[in-house]
Symmetry: C2
C-alpha cells in the first residue's frame, strides 16, 4: 500500500498525507490561485523547536513568515490566548487574505482554527498536525474552540481548514505518552466504524503499536483509515445535527474526566487518555443501554484497561484521595455540548462498528459504569 | 402601502416587519418545529427598561425567560463581555437547542450574534432591533463581532440570525441623536442603491424626517426599503467576497473616525454619525477617483453636512485641539478589514445608485478628502 502523496478531497478541505505532504504544502503556497498576502505560523514552544525546522527545510519560503508561539498544553486554549494572537495579527497588519498555518497538536489547531475563524470574520487556515492526536483527529473536520475556565471547547465555531498536511515523520518527535493519547482516537474510530481495523489493532496489540520501532508505514496506514473515516462523517454532517455525533463515543465521560483533572497539577489527563477511560465506562454503559454483548464489552474494556492501566490507576487514586468523585464527574456531564432538554445523551455501541446515538442515561447507570472502570485494576 | 405583517424571506433569515412583527415572534416561539429548550433575552439597561415591557406584553411567555443585561454603548462589545455571557449561559446550563433573543440596537445584536455563534459552536439567535441603526442595518445580514481594544469588529463571524422582528413602535423610545445615527444607514442605502429613495429623502429633508412627529408609516417604509436592499445583497454574497462590499460606502473612513473617538469621553461619535462624516469624505474621494460629478457630490455633501452639522463641528474642534489628527485617521485606515496587500480599498460612488468597489487611494488623496469635510462649516 503506497501512501506517500495520497490526497483526499472531500468538501472544501484537501487532506494530504504521506511522504510528499509538506512538498504539497509548498506547492499550494506558491500557486498563483492561492494568493496569501501574508503567512503566519502558530506553534507551541515544543513544535517551534522540534517541528518548525523540518517544515522550513522543506518549505524554505516559510522562513520569512511571522511566527507566534504559545505554551504547550490545554491552558493555552483560552479566550485570553486568542485575544492576544488577534491583537498581534492586527499589529502585524494581517489582512483578510492572510493565511494561518497551525503547526502543532490539537491545542494549536483548535486555538488556531478559532483565531482564524474570528479574525476579521474569517481568514484561511492550514493545519500541519505534529501529534498523533492532531493527525488522527483534531486537525480534521473544522471543530475549533477554546475552553471556558475548566470546561472544554465551550466557545468555538465550525470552520473548516483550507487544507491539512499530514507528515507522519513528525511522530518521531512524540513521547510515548502522547502517542498513546492519540492512539485513543484511532481506537475510537475502529470501534464505531471499522471492525476490520479493530481486529487488526487487537492482533498487533497496543504495546507493539506504541513501540518506538513501529514503522512509519503502519502509522500512515492507521492515520489514513482514521482520517478518511472522520472526514467523511464530518462532511456529511458538518454542524453535528445527527450523524457526526457518532464520533463522540467515549467523549462524554472523557470530556468530564479531562475537565475535572485539568486543574490538578501533574495529574491532568491528556485528551486521548481521558477519552480512553471514557470509552471503558461507555462500553459498560453500552452493555446496559444498547445491548452490547458481554463478550464484545469484555474484549474492548480489557484491551483499553490494559493499554491505559496507568491512567486507570491514577484516576482511582484521585478518587480514593477525594480529589474528584463519581458525583462530581456525573455533575460535570450536565455541561456536555450534546445535552438536550437538560438530559445527558451518549453515543454508545450496539456492537463493534455499530454506534447508537442520543442514548439517555440515568445518573445511577452512569455511576455504575464509572465504578466498573476500576474493576480489574 | 400596507407594511404591517410584511414578511421577507431570503436565504435562511426570516424578516418580519410591521405592526404584527412581535406577534409573529410569539407564534414562532410557540411553534412545535422551533423547539427552543430555553430562551435567553439579551438587553442593555436602556432596552430592559424601555423595550422589554412591550416585548413581554405581546409575548407573555417570555416573562419566564432568562435575562442578561449589558451596559449600553460600544464598550460592551468586548471579548470580556462575550466571555461573561458564555459563562452565565454555562451556569444556566443552556444547551445547543437554546435560543438567544437580542433586544436592542447594534451593540446588543453584534455582541449577541457573536455569543450565539460561539456558544457550544453555535446556537440560534433572533434579533429584535430597537434602534433605527439596528432596524435599518445591524440586525440584518449576520455580521457579528466584538471590538479589540479601540478597533471595531475585528473579532467576529458571519453567522445569520434565525429571524428578525422589526417593530418600529420601538423608535418612540429613541432620542433624536440615535434616530440621526440610524438615519445615516438609510442614507447610505439610498446613495448606493436607490436613487428614487434618495430623491424622496431630499424632498422631505433630514430635519422633517427626524422630527418627533414623523409617522410610523414613513419609518416603516424607509426601514423596509433599506432592509430588503441590504438583505438581498447580504444573501447574494454572505461572506463579502465582492458584491457585499458596496455596503461599506462611508464605512472605511467612518470606522476610523469611530475608533479614534471611542476613547474620548463624551465625544465618542455614534456609529451612524461617524458613517455620515465618512460618507462626506468618501463622496469627495469619489469625485477624485471614480468620476462622481461635481453637481451630485455637492448635493450629497451639503445634505450630509447640514444634517450632521454638529458632528462636523465637533470633529473639527477635536482636530483643532489636537485630540486627533488627519494623519492618525489615515494610519487607522490601515487596519480596515477590507484591506488587501497592505493597501486601502474604498467603496466609492460613480453616481448616485452606482457604487464602485475596491478603489485604492493614496494617503494624500485621503487627506484632501478629509480636509474638505470642514469646508462649509
Amino acid at each position: 500500500m503506497i501512501l506517500s502523496g495520497r490526497v483526499v478531497t472531500i468538501s472544501r478541505t484537501r487532506i494530504h498525507l504521506g511522504l510528499n505532504a509538506l512538498k504539497d504544502l509548498r506547492k499550494l503556497l506558491a500557486s498563483h490561485d492561492y494568493r496569501a498576502s501574508r503567512v503566519i505560523i502558530l506553534t507551541d514552544t515544543n513544535t517551534a523547536k522540534h517541528c518548525l525546522p523540518r517544515l522550513v527545510s522543506i518549505c524554505p519560503e516559510l522562513d520569512s513568515a511571522s511566527m507566534f508561539e504559545i505554551d504547550p498544553g490545554e491552558a493555552s486554549k483560552s479566550l485570553a490566548a486568542a485575544e492576544k494572537i488577534w491583537i498581534e495579527l492586527l499589529l502585524a497588519r494581517a489582512d483578510r487574505q492572510s493565511v494561518l498555518i497551525n503547526l502543532g497538536g490539537g491545542v494549536v489547531s483548535d486555538l488556531g482554527g478559532f483565531v482564524a475563524a474570528g479574525y476579521k470574520r474569517g481568514i484561511r487556515y492550514i493545519n500541519v498536525p505534529t501529534s498523533l492526536m492532531g493527525m488522527a483527529d483534531a486537525s480534521i473536520g473544522g471543530k475549533t474552540g477554546v475552553n471556558l475556565g475548566q470546561l472544554k471547547n465551550q466557545a468555538g465555531f465550525f470552520y473548516l481548514p483550507f487544507a491539512v498536511f499530514i507528515d507522519t515523520a513528525f511522530l518521531k518527535t512524540l513521547s510515548e505518552a502522547h502517542l498513546r493519547s492519540g492512539f485513543a482516537e484511532i481506537m475510537k474510530s475502529a470501534l464505531i466504524g471499522d471492525p476490520v481495523l479493530w481486529r487488526r489493532i487487537l492482533k498487533h496489540g497496543a504495546e507493539a503499536i506504541l513501540a518506538a520501532d513501529t514503522s512509519e508505514k503502519l502509522w500512515q496506514d492507521l492515520v489514513f483509515k482514521t482520517v478518511t473515516f472522520k472526514n467523511k462523517i464530518a462532511c456529511q454532517d458538518f454542524t453535528e445535527k445527527k450523524l457526526r455525533k457518532i464520533l463522540n463515543f467515549g467523549h462524554t465521560i472523557g470530556h468530564a474526566l479531562e475537565s475535572l483533572t485539568l486543574g490538578l497539577e501533574n495529574r491532568a489527563l491528556l485528551h486521548g487518555d481521558a477519552v480512553a477511560l471514557g470509552m471503558i465506562a461507555e462500553t459498560r454503559l453500552s452493555q446496559m443501554k444498547t445491548g452490547l454483548s458481554e463478550t464484545e464489552a469484555e474484549v474492548i474494556a480489557s484491551f483499553l484497561q490494559s493499554a491505559w492501566a496507568a491512567q486507570v490507576l491514577m484516576l482511582k487514586d484521585m478518587i480514593v484521595r477525594g480529589d474528584i468523585s463519581i458525583e462530581r464527574i456525573s455533575n460535570m456531564l450536565f455541561n456536555d455540548k450534546k445535552n438536550k432538554d437538560g438530559r445527558i445523551h451518549f453515543t454508545l455501541l450496539k456492537e463493534i462498528g455499530k454506534p447508537a446515538l442520543n442514548i439517555q442515561s440515568r445518573p445511577d447507570e452512569i455511576a455504575v459504569s464509572l465504578k466498573r472502570l476500576f474493576e480489574s485494576s
